[in-house]
Symmetry: C2
C-alpha cells in the first residue's frame, strides 16, 4: 500500500498515526500541497478532490478521506482497536473526532485560508480566522471528555479521538491558540506523544518536511 500525504497535512498525520498504531507498513508518497502537486492530473485520477491523504492499494484501488481510511484500518486490522466496543461510547469517540475533522480542520485548511487571502485579507485576519475555528472546536472537545477517565481522551488507551486531537493541537499552536485553556486535552496529548506511534508520525519527522 502507498499513502499519498504531506508532512504538514493533519489529515495525513491522522492516518500515519493510525497505521503506526496498527503496525501496518506502507510506502509514503509526498504530495507537496504548497507546490500544487495534489492538482496533478495523475493524482486527480486517484483522488478527484485533489486532497491528501489517499491510500492506494497494489491492485489500483484507492481510499480517500482520512476518517474513512482509519475506519477501514480498524475493521481490517482490529488490534489494537481504535473504537470502544459499546455502540454509544463508539458514537461519543466518533463525535469527538468529527468535531475536529468536520468543524475545525476544513474551516482552517490551506484552501480556505488561500481563498480568504484571495478576498484581500492579510495574515492577521487569516490567522485569527484559523484560531477562531480551532478555539471553538477544542473548547467543545475539552467539555466532551471532561468526565472521561484518562490519560487518553477516552480512557487508558488511544482511540480515534486521540488520533484526530494530536494533529489538531499542532495546528492550533501554529495559529497561536493558547492551548493551556484545554488541560484535559493536553493530558491526552502528553500520553499520546509518549508513544512512538504518535511521535514518529509528527510532521517534523517526515522526510518531505521543509
Amino acid at each position: 500500500m502507498r499513502l499519498h500525504g504531506y508532512f504538514r497535512s493533519s489529515a495525513a498525520y491522522r492516518v500515519r498515526i493510525a497505521l503506526n498504531l496498527k503496525g501496518v507498513r506502507v510506502t509514503h508518497q509526498a504530495r507537496h500541497l504548497r507546490r500544487g502537486e495534489q492538482r496533478d492530473a495523475r493524482y486527480l485520477a486517484l483522488n478527484p478532490q485533489g486532497l491528501v491523504p489517499a491510500l492506494e492499494f497494489d491492485d489500483g484501488r484507492v481510499l480517500t478521506q482520512s476518517l474513512a481510511i482509519i475506519e477501514w484500518l480498524d475493521e481490517t486490522y482490529p488490534n489494537p482497536p481504535l473504537l470502544p466496543p459499546e455502540p454509544l461510547q463508539r458514537a461519543r469517540v466518533r463525535a469527538f473526532a468529527l468535531v475536529l475533522a468536520c468543524d475545525v480542520h476544513p474551516v482552517q485548511n490551506l484552501k480556505v485560508l488561500d481563498r480568504l487571502r484571495d478576498l484581500g485579507h492579510g495574515d492577521d485576519t487569516v490567522t485569527a480566522w484559523a484560531a477562531w475555528a480551532n478555539s471553538a472546536g477544542l473548547a467543545a472537545c475539552e467539555r466532551l471528555v471532561a468526565s472521561e477517565p484518562g490519560p487518553f481522551c477516552f480512557g487508558p488507551s488511544p482511540t480515534l479521538a486521540d488520533v484526530c486531537l494530536i494533529p489538531q493541537l499542532g495546528n492550533a499552536r501554529r495559529f497561536k491558540v493558547d492551548v493551556t485553556r484545554y488541560p484535559r486535552l493536553l493530558t491526552a496529548e502528553a500520553a499520546a506523544l509518549a508513544l512512538p506511534a504518535f511521535s514518529t508520525a509528527a510532521p517534523e519527522h517526515q522526510t518531505d518536511r521543509e
Copy 2:
C-alpha cells in the same frame, strides 16, 4: 429519544432521513439557529458545540455530530443497513459522505458565512463562497460514484452516501450551483426522493420551517 434540530440544518436533515429509514421514532425539538437558540445555556449543556443535531436519550445521555449519530443508529438498528458489508466498500461510502460532511458543509454553514459578513463581505461574495465549496465537493462526489451501479449512490438501496447527498444538493441549489453538472448525483437524488423516508425529512415538511 429527542432530536434537537432545525428545519434547514442539513446535518439535522441527515439524521431525520436515517431515523426514517430505520423506522425509529423520536420527539423533535426545534432549535432556531437564526434566533441563536443553539447558544442557550441549557442547550450548551447538552451540546457544548452549540450546533444541531443532538440526540438526547430519556436517561439524559446525549449524542452529537450527525455522522456519529447515524453510525450509532446503524449499529443499534441494523436493518436496513446504511453501509455495505465489505470493509473496502464501506470505506468508499464513508469517504463520499465525509467529502460532504467535512469538506463542504462546514465551510458553507451559517457560522462561517456570518463570519464572512462580519469581515465586510456582501451577499454576492458570501453566496459565491458557499457555491465554491458546494461545487468542488459535488464534482468530486460525481466522480467517486461514476462507475457505481445505481440508482442510488452505491447500488440498489440508499446508504450513508445518499443520506448526506440529498440535504447537500438542497444547499447547493440555495447557493445557485448548477447541479445539472452532476447527472449521476441527480439520478441518486430522484431515487431517494421517491422514498417517503427522504421526502418527509425535507426542510419544507418540518413544523419549524419559516
